[in-house]
Point group: C2
Chain length 403, copies 2
């Protein structure tokens, strides 16, 4: 126990990202925030950034800002996410809509592909919205959903995919990091396995972007969607991003044809002609206000480097796994995440029948993890805003509440 505290202090003392902890808004009454994997914390600089935006770009430049900067913001910000966090060369990433709406657009685009393939392979362990979208599309397009259900703790393996895909597969929909266990999938090997059958793959990056380095181009990924309000700290409901590999642009067509995705936005043309590049995946007016907060976090990640963020993520989750082994397991708590940090994303999930009640107690006390039905607690550790000491104190607070 005192070993754990000493270890946490030592890790913090030599943490190269330590100075960034002070960049986030303080939360009076909160002693441990362990839900950065659901909603990242705001930066202290944000109120001033927003005030300048309201008075300047919006309030003074007014409608002129569309010409001056906002029209290109969805693709510029997409390129930036591509460069800083997901290994995507420019022109393939765009910020727009919610994760759900982008999943719909990309899945619909993918299953419109020629070739008569009529199956979507999808994991039971995908986040509900991914499954719900696929279920709706399968019903409307007359496709079959082929479910796979790997062990959530070990996560999806190449063998699971090889056993499920075939010449009937149009699309495979997978999560890079499992939202339940944090299991990290082997993106390159699985993408290759999908491509061997001629199908496309769509990766959900919601639980990896900003905490695990992603290499979409290097892995030859076809399509990806990710969330910006978790480890990119974009704020509640900030818009998601979509990645469409350059080789598919101009080939795959998304169904929600809107003026902002047209080739000439202000021509007021009588028929829709899509923009040639990634811009075609935009539909309506981009949510500019919702794109401001994540910019400060992208600055931080670029400065710290995603490699250093990942390194700290591993020491954070390793420390928590050790604390669970030593202090919580004796109380009947199960570890529901991979034990190897290399196979894990940024959160650690633990289980106990009393966790619904325990979470209520913890929230009231200012210790804030995430409860997931039926009996899981996720300890989400956002490396730039969380110290090892805070992570450990959160884990130990779970123990104390259980007692």
């Amino acid at each position: 126990m005192s070993d754990l505290l000493a270890e946490a202090s030592a890790l913090d003392a030599r943490d190269p990202l330590g100075p960034h902890l002070d960049a986030f808004v303080e939360a009076p009454g909160v002693s441990a925030y362990l839900d950065g994997n659901s909603l990242g914390r705001p930066l202290k600089e944000l109120p001033e950034r927003l005030a300048e935006f309201v008075r300047g770009d919006w309030g003074t430049r007014l409608i002129r800002s569309w010409d001056e900067q906002w029209m290109d913001l969805p693709t510029e910000l997409g390129d930036r996410i591509g460069r800083v966090a997901i290994g995507a060369a420019a022109g393939q990433t765009v910020v727009a809509d919610s994760t759900t709406v982008l999943l719909y657009k990309l899945m619909r685009a993918a299953v419109h592909a020629p070739g008569g393939r009529n199956e979507i392979v999808i994991e039971e362990g995908n986040f509900p919205t991914d499954r719900f979208v696929a279920e709706g599309i399968a019903a409307e397009r007359g496709l079959t959903l082929r479910w796979i259900d790997p062990d959530p703790v070990t996560g999806v393996q190449v063998g699971d995919i090889e056993a499920a895909v075939s010449e009937r597969t149009a699309l495979v929909v997978l999560s890079h990091v499992d939202y339940r266990s944090g299991a990290l999938a082997d993106m390159k090997a699985i993408t290759d396995a999908v491509h061997n059958t001629g199908a496309l793959v769509l990766w959900d990056l919601c639980h990896s972007v900003g905490v695990v380095p992603v290499e979409l181009d290097a892995c030859g990924v076809d399509l990806a969607v990710g969330c910006t309000y978790k480890y990119l700290n974009g704020g509640p409901g900030s818009p998601a991003f979509a990645y469409v590999n350059a080789r598919h642009q101009g080939v795959l067509r998304q169904p929600i044809q809107g003026w902002m995705g047209a080739g000439d936005v202000f021509a007021m043309a009588s028929a829709y002609a899509p923009s040639g590049g990634i811009r075609q995946f935009i539909s309506g007016t981009p949510p500019v206000l919702g794109m401001l907060a994540m910019q400060g976090m992208l600055d931080l990640i670029e400065d710290a480097t995603i490699t250093a963020v990942r390194a700290k993520s591993k020491t954070l989750t390793d420390l928590v796994v050790r604390a669970v082994d030593e202090e919580l397991a004796p109380l009947g708590v199960r570890t529901l995440s991979p034990r190897d940090a290399g196979r894990r994303g940024g959160h650690v999930t633990i289980g106990h029948p009393d966790f619904a009640e325990v979470t209520k107690t913890l929230w009231a006390e200012g210790v804030i993890p995430d409860f997931r039905f039926p009996d899981g607690i996720r300890l989400g550790l956002s490396p730039l805003s969380t110290s090892h000491t805070e992570a450990l104190s959160g884990a130990l607070a779970v123990r104390d509440a259980l007692r």
Copy 2:
């Protein structure tokens, strides 16, 4: 000429909404902002509202705010818009997504209606995104688009609709206020004419909400979509709203099935079961940050009353029409809006072959109207943020730039 100036001053002197002019952020260098119909101006209170949100609801309450308030925000804010601006009883309006995405959801829901009706009647003069969405849906669902093309200045009439709708019509898509001319449609008479054939009607309220009183319930409207960044001043790309009349809820199904529209959001269920009410029209995580700015404007409209806003809108547009007649028509400027204020929304459109060049000159000088291809200038007059003197000076600046 001096008559016009005196008239403007007199109107301002007795303007009951005059005191609200000071509520908006000042724009140094801008002498006349005439584009509130594209992007409404921010309120002075907004930076503080945003800062409090960042430090409090987001930064301190953190994930707990979803339970405490954000989960219900889309329907609460929808109800508020319903009450203040569009004549909709509670439980029928929701804020979510962009106008384009909501148009897609509602049109898809409407053409899924049973009965074998296979035509969408739609106006050539609808805003491009409405037409593009309908075009895409018609192609994917095997429907026919039946175009109507009323004179844009007089706008769509009951007779135009009666001539186009039939027992083959599934849906009629119309704009309440024409984005080009400002022509105001007779919502009640047209809705009745559509219903006489058994079809549904979807009204686009983008150019009327917040400036013209709308009575959706009283008119028996089926579906409506509206924008919040024009006369509701929600900021660039703020989320739109959708209205689905209670009689259609639980019957019409929208296609983008997401976790936030499910009956039990956190059950993480294996199959999608939609929420019973208007909530089913939500798909992904609501854009909370984008819902903040419009709240201050709704306060203002509620305080001023939409009736008083409409009354000032008429005196503003009447004054501009008179200025055009007296000062701009002699230079060859055409009036492209209805001359009767009762048949007009909040903007006045004028035409001249040189207006593309004129708009560039005006923008550089801090007079900001809206140019629309090929040769129109729209003078958008947002009653709460625009004085009669400002409106007149903008119109006269167009004259000066033409000379």
